[in-house]
Every structure is written in C-alpha cells, then in structure tokens.
Amino acid sequence: MTTQSLTIDAHEPGTPPGDLAIWFFIFAELLAFGIFFGSYAFARAHNVELFNQSQLMLNRASGAVNALVLITSSYFVVRAVAAIKQGLSRQCANWLGAAIALGGVFIVIKLFEFHAKFSAGISLSTNTFYMFYLSLTIFHFMHVILGMVILAFVMAKARSGGYSIEHHTGVETGASYWHMVDLVWIILFPLVYVIR
C-alpha cells in the first residue's frame, strides 16, 4: 500500500489538478484576455453609440450556440477525467474525442460567422468595435485550435493506454487548459454580444 501511494501522481494537497506549469500558462492567458476585456469595456465607454449599433450586426444566436457547445465540450472533458480516475482508458479517450468534435463544431460555426463578416468587407480596420470583436474572437479561436491540438495528443495517449489510475496528470493538464478556453468564451459572449 505504501509503495503504491508513492507512485501515485499525487500533487501537493491544495494545488489545482494537472501540471503546475500549465497553471502559469492559464493565468498568463487569462491575464491577457482580462486586459483585452477591460480595454474593450473602456473603449466602449468612449464610443457607446458605435458599439451598440455595431453589436446589432453580430450573430447573437451563433455566439450563444457556441457557448453551449463549449460548455458541453468542457463537461465531456470532466467526464474524461472521471473515466481515467476509474482506469477506463477507452472511455476517457472517447469522452475526449467527443469534446474535440464539439471543438470542431465551434470552429465551423465561427468560420461561418467570420465568413459573413469578411464578405461584408469588415476587417480589423473597419472601426473600433470590429477591431475588438475580430481581435478577441480570433485570439480566442486560435486558443480553441490550440486546445483541440492538446486534447488530441492527450486522447491519442489515452487510447494507447498511456494513462492509468495512478498516472493521469496529462489528462488533467489538458482538461484544465480546455476549461480555460471555455471560461474565456463565457465572459466574451455576454460582453461582446449581449451587454448594451
């Protein structure tokens, strides 16, 4: 028993799940997004009319659907972590696969949204609102892709039995990153699409 407990991926009690290094990255990213959100809010304060008007041009429904997609995807990742904690590698990989697929749905919906905006001739230089809208969403979009790549690596390793009840820090690390991507959209959606 004692030898077994020594080999478990037990991090110090009280620290968040996954590798501590990812949490530095997560908080650095959250900080960058946070400053961007604040900049958006204050830029809006100087341009309320423009922001309110331009906001109406956004596709709120696709933003909301994407929120649902990411929330659900995040939940699937929670199930993946739960599965590996039971030693169920296959289930873990399947839940991750489902989460990645939903990430793909997010990407597709977002691409339709971008396509509509770009074909209307909207770019980063159209006005301050669109500068923020495009910067924030594209920056987040790239994070979704990065998150999917990370989850794909974790899934591949899970599928080949690379994780176990004792050793699954990698799953938790990828999961934590993916939840961060979700968290950012949870703030971004109301801020950019709803609040007026």
């Binding site: 478990i8 991090h11 590798d19 770019s123 594209i138 920056f139 990065l146 050793h167």
Partner: protein
C-alpha cells in the same frame, strides 16, 4: 513519483506558446500588409522619393534625428519637417551648414555637400513621409 510541476510540461508550454504567438504575429502582419497601402500612400513613392530615402540613409541622418520618432534624440524630428518648415527651408538649411561648424557651443550639423538633385530628392522623401497616416503622431507640429 512524478512531479506536480514537470520540466517536460514547462518545455511544451515554451514551444507551444512561442509557436502560437509567432503565428499570431504572422497573422497580424499579414493583415497589416493588406491595410498598409491605404495608410502609406505608396502610389506616391516616385523615383525621387526612393532616391531621397537613399540620400537619407547614405548620410546617416538617423544618427542625430528621429524620423517618425525613431532614431537618435539629438536633433529635431523630421517626419513632419516638411509641414513645419517647408521644402525650401530644408534645402537652404542643409546647404548652408558651415564645414567647420557654427560658432558657440551649439549642437552641430555637418556639411554633407549634397547636390541640387539630392536636395530635391531628400525633400520629396520628407514630403512623402509627412503624408503617412501615423495615427496623428506627433502631438503637435514641434515633433
């Protein structure tokens, strides 16, 4: 026992983060390249402007002056000098620098012995530079 904070994870974050943000820089630069023609008015870069830039570089003007705020801080900003002083003044000024310097311990500008052609080119370059959309920098005409 595996650690809660591993070197391999730190390394992955380094490579992943660096690649990610470099790609973002490339993407933003791509957009910038699309927008720039509207801001730098490159259709106005005549041969004279191009030659003028060469004269600017050959005499290391940036070693004393700033141009759009970049360079040395020893002598006035020249990005807006065309607006501030006009082309004729610029030419007369460059031409009239005494080779041995001006009296008193004022800051000195060398005599560069530019030809009339080079002076015209330089002014064309400075005029074009003054028309770049710099987001309203500098704050006032003094540069």
């Amino acid at each position: 026992m595996s650690q809660a904070f591993t070197k391999s994870m730190a390394r992955n974050i380094f490579f992943g983060g660096a690649t990610f943000f470099f790609l973002l820089l490339v993407a933003l630069s791509f957009d910038t390249m699309q927008v720039l023609p509207k801001r730098d008015h490159r259709e106005n870069i005549t041969d004279a402007v191009a030659r003028g830039k060469n004269v600017w570089e050959k005499n290391d003007c940036i070693g004393c002056h700033t141009l759009l705020g970049e360079g040395a801080y020893y002598a006035p900003e020249l990005g807006n000098v065309y607006k501030r002083r006009g082309g004729e003044f610029v030419k007369a000024w460059i031409k009239s620098r005494p080779a041995e310097g001006t009296p008193g311990n004022r800051r000195q500008m060398p005599q560069f012995n530019l030809t009339d052609q080079e002076l015209d080119d330089m002014v064309a370059f400075l005029k074009w530079t003054g028309e770049i959309n710099t987001n309203n920098w500098p704050p006032n005409i003094e540069g």
